[in-house]
């Protein structure tokens, strides 16, 4: 049994391709059924997010399953193989295991360490579990993947720092204000980045939002979407003393807020700290403002600088994560490789033979003087017992046709006799409850 992955991601395909091959959530059930019906595929799972579309399968014949999955991908979206195959990647066996572990641990994401992918993987697995297209292998595999993702998250600092301008801004605000829940945010102008940052501040619990814009109706509309208040652009500087966090991105060629405005505002608010974020280019706020006591001015480069530094930090952590994954790939693959009939029977025989030999020696030494004939008789009798006991299980294991059942038996035999030729079953739970 092996794992096969076929798919494409933001690294191999532009969005025009990705959107064409995406699987709609309500069609996934049907696709899962169709995938499982493919001759070489015994278990299947579909991951479809905006950044990646991937098909996972457990198969006894990886090469063939790979071809079938590639064809299915093209066929199900009515795309010609020539176009699609340029963007498709495929992995089999160990490489496939590594790929899925990397994806789940967010090492393959556009922003390394971003947390959404784990949830998306859990949802995808949830579908497969619900529609019974995931069996023993994929169940075990995905639980492994989730536990590895958790390990990566706790053992490395991969997700500890802000890697978007909005997050960086909120992180900074937390070093200026103890808590931002009772603070007031003001938006000056309406750049996209500005709105995003404001949204993030609101999500983090900022209590009040003021919006101002040269076009008052625009300000009103934006204020409404944040549940805030619109302020007249002509005299918004008079409101500055109420503002703790200011986000500015107007299209103005000159400074919109000068040092004098802020000095006055600062005095009025009794020098409580102010955090100013100037996302506009050319800048909206006089840079001299940063020299004032208790006023902290950041422009777009400063925030980008934080993001870049944090990304570098994440890359360093990603190296540690890769090591964890290499370990886990090894362990999982060992379990998988041994989940076949021959090694199991060999191990089982070896185990029982060891027991027989040990007990035989014990008995022989207890009985004292025996002649060769008697010794031989005991030996023959004990091996006959072992053989008789093993006869039926061995035949059964060799006979079972259905892959699914066979794997279950193999897994059970290995567990019952403690054959320890694979992954210790540390993380078998049979339901995707923690999704």
């Amino acid at each position: 049994m092996n794992i096969v992955v076929v798919g494409l991601s933001h690294k191999t395909a532009p969005v025009e391709i990705r959107e064409r091959v995406a699987f709609e959530p309500d069609t996934i059930a049907g696709h899962l059924g169709a995938l499982c019906a493919l001759p070489a595929v015994s278990e299947a799972m579909i991951v479809s997010t905006c950044n990646r579309v991937e098909l996972y399968a457990a198969t006894p014949d990886p090469q063939r399953a790979r071809t079938e999955l590639q064809q299915y991908m093209a066929r199900s979206h009515g795309m010609s193989a020539d176009v699609l195959y340029d963007h498709l990647y495929s992995y089999i066996c160990q490489e496939a295991v590594r790929h899925v572990l990397r994806v789940t641990s967010s090492l393959d994401s556009m922003v390394v360490g971003e947390p959404q992918i784990l949830g998306q993987m859990k949802t995808a697995y949830g579908h497969a579990y619900e529609h019974k297209s995931a069996g023993l292998i994929l169940n075990r595999f995905m639980h492994k993947a989730f536990s590895v993702a958790k390990r990566v998250r706790t053992e490395t600092a991969i997700a500890n720092s802000a890697v978007s301008v909005s997050y960086a801004a909120v992180e900074l605000a937390r070093k200026i204000f103890d808590s931002i829940t009772d603070k007031t945010v003001m938006l000056v102008g309406a750049g996209e980045m500005c709105e995003l940052a404001a949204k993030h501040f609101v999500r983090c619990g900022v209590s009040k939002v003021l919006v101002t814009n040269r076009t008052y109706s625009r300000a009103e509309k934006l204020a409404e979407s944040f549940g805030g208040t619109a302020v007249n652009f002509a005299n918004f500087c008079e409101q500055l003393h109420r503002v703790d966090i200011l986000l500015s991105s107007t299209g103005s060629p000159d400074y919109v807020i000068g040092a004098a405005d802020l000095r006055a505002a600062s005095r009025m608010r009794r020098y409580q700290p102010m955090f100013l974020i100037d996302i506009a280019v050319p800048r909206d706020i006089d840079p001299a403002v940063n020299k004032l006591d208790s006023i902290y001015l950041y422009d777009v480069d400063d925030l980008q600088g934080i993001v870049q530094a944090n990304l570098k930090e994440r890359e360093k952590e990603a190296i540690k994560a890769e090591q964890i994954i290499a370990e886990e790939v090894e362990r999982f693959h060992e379990w998988l490789a041994n989940l076949s009939v021959r090694p199991t029977i060999v191990a089982l025989r070896k185990q029982l033979e060891a027991v027989r030999q040990k007990e035989l020696q014990k008995t022989l030494s207890n009985l004292g003087t025996l002649d060769d004939h008697q010794r031989k008789a005991l030996d023959v009798m004990s091996s006959a017992i072992v053989n008789k006991i093993l006869h039926h299980p061995t035949r059964l294991l060799k006979q079972i046709d259905c892959d699914e059942d066979k794997l279950r038996y193999l897994d059970a035999v290995q567990a019952l006799f403690d054959l320890s030729i694979g992954d210790p079953s540390e993380d078998i739970e049979n339901s995707p409850e923690d999704k």
């Binding site: 070093k175 200026i176 204000f177 103890d178 208790s294 934080i306």
Partner: protein, 278 residues
Amino acid sequence: MAPVTLLFAATTSAYLVASLFYLWAMISKREKTGRFGRWLLLLGVVLHAAVFAFRHSMVEGTPVTSLHESLSFFAWCLVLLFLLLDLRFRLSVMGAFAAPLALCLMIFSALSPDVVVPLNPVLRTWLFPVHISFAFLGNAAFALAFGAGVMYLVQDRMLKNKRFNRVYRVLPSIDVLDRVNYTCLSVGFPFMTLGLISGAVWANMAWGSYWSWDPKETWALVTWFLYAGLLHGRLTAGWRGRRAAFFSIVAFMFLLFTFLGVSLFFDGYHTFEAFSMS
């Protein structure tokens, strides 16, 4: 070893281990480790109280006359006040300042000569313990304000210059540092005031004059005015942030001189062991 020496050593060790825990908590950013530091400081403060109880029975009076005892008493006040402050702010970073400072005071205390002499009759009054308790609690509060002030200035630098190194990540928000600074000032100032008043009352009882411009008195008054000015600025003019932090650092320098410099370099009532020598 005498029980007092043993207790003193145990207290110092408790402060040492607490410092290590707090520093480790700060470096590794684990709040849990800080909790161990807190418990050790609590243990230390109890042991330390026992030290003074012993010394009290040895000299049959308030045992804070030598430099050795003064430094040790300062450390005790500092830890006690920090633990009270910690109830409100829960800042292990402040612990990483207070615990090592207490440890240093204990080490200097251990290094200065420890002479146990029966108390001079002038010191056998209930006003003596009252006076020194107020004075030292004030000192301790101002020391913590100083610590918060220094941290404020450092964090302010980091934020202004946009340097996001380890120090930046370890230090709390400037808002909290400013509040800690303010809280310490507003706790320290009444203590210091009461310390001055109790001293004056005592002087009147002992020598018939409230104020005699003894060097300690003069310097204490200067320091008191500085802190009064700072607190006034904070309350009425809305001083805060960099200016307030800087001011509290300068004022603490004066305080240090008043506490140590004057007693060591000038003659007067407050010279260490002066009472017992005469």
